[in-house]
Symmetry: C2
């Protein structure tokens, strides 16, 4: 049985991206719909700020789509905070029927995949997907409180303060609108043996390689059939590992490979080490860079796979290695967003 | 638009439940397929033990269904540990395409709902759902280390050391087999204002009430159309609140209401205060008590709604109240498991 599922007539109809100070200062900053200069989004803790940012992304999505929250039938959301409380508290006020996800930084793609599947039998019309991450909340939960001023290693990535929101529906009434989701594939957990919590890219690269190899084989496609094969947040180190793993399997992506973690910041000017990470990274970059390119036809077809590192500080302390996972969505030009 | 979705021909084809020492000693203990007397399941930490228990539940499910792990197309799973690492590490060895969920103690129902939706367009055949909780892992993560010997309040519940696994498929080839999933409804997050981490039942009751009232109204059914309306883990206190909230809305459930949290232990003989809780509670009770009753026709139709408390120790410390959520599945007698 194939791992691929082919949604029929399912499209990303609209999206929105919100970021923080560092993201605004990066090369994609001018493409964010909203940002907050002090990363607080009006909240008194970093954790609450993350939820407020997720809410802003969803509000902006609804505004762009000219919809009310009651027009959304189901909302998939998740984040990196313990028990996913950023999205839960942040999205509570919308009152939309809710299904929480945990896919670590792969949540954006996991949500798009499940949204496409949920729309398949035509009983619901519109599904929302929201995900977010906040650098300061992540630092103190996964690593060290900011006040400690710890040194970061060269392979460490910078958890993005960013949120992305997506509206997924069917093409009826949107004949030349949006970006088609033409195929989806759930990820498989892969244990590459990496135990270094400051090298998530290397931990996730084997899962990304497995997903790309499986997807292309089952879809009977070559990399040249795609304008880009886009990973979520492998960063510089993980991207290098991915290309090496693929080349060992006879697959060369070359310039066709893009990584959202390498695109969000200017690593020459911004002190982010190996690049960006976090649930919000791939969501924001998809929303503000790749969806517009697919929508206007500058890109015709891409593979998009957010990459997740399944681990906790406790699991690392207990000697476990970091598991990677990389669900895939194939996106195609359908019309203008 | 209705919040209800009607899966066609989707059934729970098999299930399995595993528990610990306390669960084995409870009134449903003889119905568990497997248990471990010292709650360790061969692991050297409670956190790893929880993952091993989830793996045992899935192994038992596959054995009962006479399937290999490669026969399962997609696995929904989740637990209460930070970043859901119990199910991630526990289920890694099976290599099944994976979608992580976070619905707190509502995960079993969330998973059944999404499985039914995923099967709708007939591109995949079999979906697994696994969820678990472990008392000792939960105590030290959410409350206090066991060694501290803290006093518990009367409204506190006992996180069950239990795991449940379910196989969901379509009826083809299983004409008189299993339990039908005839309708599903995603939950809405409800903030009842409860900030007491030792009274989860009260925090979840408003969400359960909202789900039951909405489901019955949209389905145009009365409580008398069901043999039972089953909540996940409201416990004694939460169940009382639920019945009161429903009566305020003109709905009387009476004896028709069952709560898995009140059924798993004998509160006269076991020191569990207000009853059981945890992702594994409703999953295990559904598997070992209600699915067999539905399968043999002793029960014809039930509503099943696991109840989740969306919160973290950090969100409580920051002054947030506890959000409740209660997705619903309507289950019907179809044939013998």
């Amino acid at each position: 049985m194939s791992r691929l599922i082919y949604p029929v007539g399912v499209r990303i109809l609209q999206s929105a991206a919100v970021g923080g100070h560092e993201e605004k200062n990066g090369p994609l900053g001018h493409l964010l719909e909203l940002h907050d200069e002090d990363d607080r989004f009006g909240a008194d803790t970093w954790e609450k700020a993350e939820g407020k940012m997720a809410a802003l992304a969803l509000s902006m999505l609804l505004a762009k789509a000219k919809l009310k929250s009651s027009d959304i039938d189901l909302l998939f959301a998740g984040d990196l905070q313990n028990q996913c409380v950023a999205t839960a508290y942040g999205l509570l006020p919308f009152g939309i029927p809710y299904a929480g996800l945990y896919g670590a930084c792969s949540t954006a793609t996991e949500g798009l995949m499940l949204a496409a599947m949920a729309l398949a039998d035509r009983q619901i019309d519109r599904v929302g997907v929201v995900t977010c991450s906040h650098n300061c909340a992540a630092e103190r939960q996964f690593r060290l409180p900011l006040e400690y001023g710890g040194q970061r290693t060269p392979t460490a990535q910078w958890t993005a303060t960013a949120a992305g929101a997506f509206l997924i529906g069917r093409e009826e009434g949107h004949a030349s609108c949006g970006v088609g989701i033409s195929a989806v594939m759930a990820g498989r957990m892969v244990d590459g043996g990496v135990k270094d919590g400051a090298n998530m890219g290397a931990a996730m690269a084997p899962a990304a390689a497995e997903s790309i190899l499986t997807f292309l084989a089952e879809r009977k496609k070559e990399p040249s059939d795609y304008d880009a094969i886009i990973t979520g947040d492998l960063g510089e180190e993980g991207s290098r590992q991915l290309l090496r793993l693929l080349e060992e399997n006879g697959l060369s992506l070359g310039e066709r490979h893009k990584d959202c973690g390498c695109l969000l910041y200017d690593r020459e000017k911004q002190d982010v080490h190996a690049g960006a990470s976090g649930c919000g990274c791939s969501a924001a970059v998809l929303s503000c860079l790749f969806l517009p390119a697919l929508s206007c036809g500058k890109m015709k077809r891409v593979l998009f796979l957010s990459t997740g590192a399944l681990m906790s500080p406790g699991s690392l302390q207990q000697g476990n290695s970091i598991l990677g996972i990389a669900p895939v969505v194939e996106l195609e030009h359908a019309g203008m967003l």
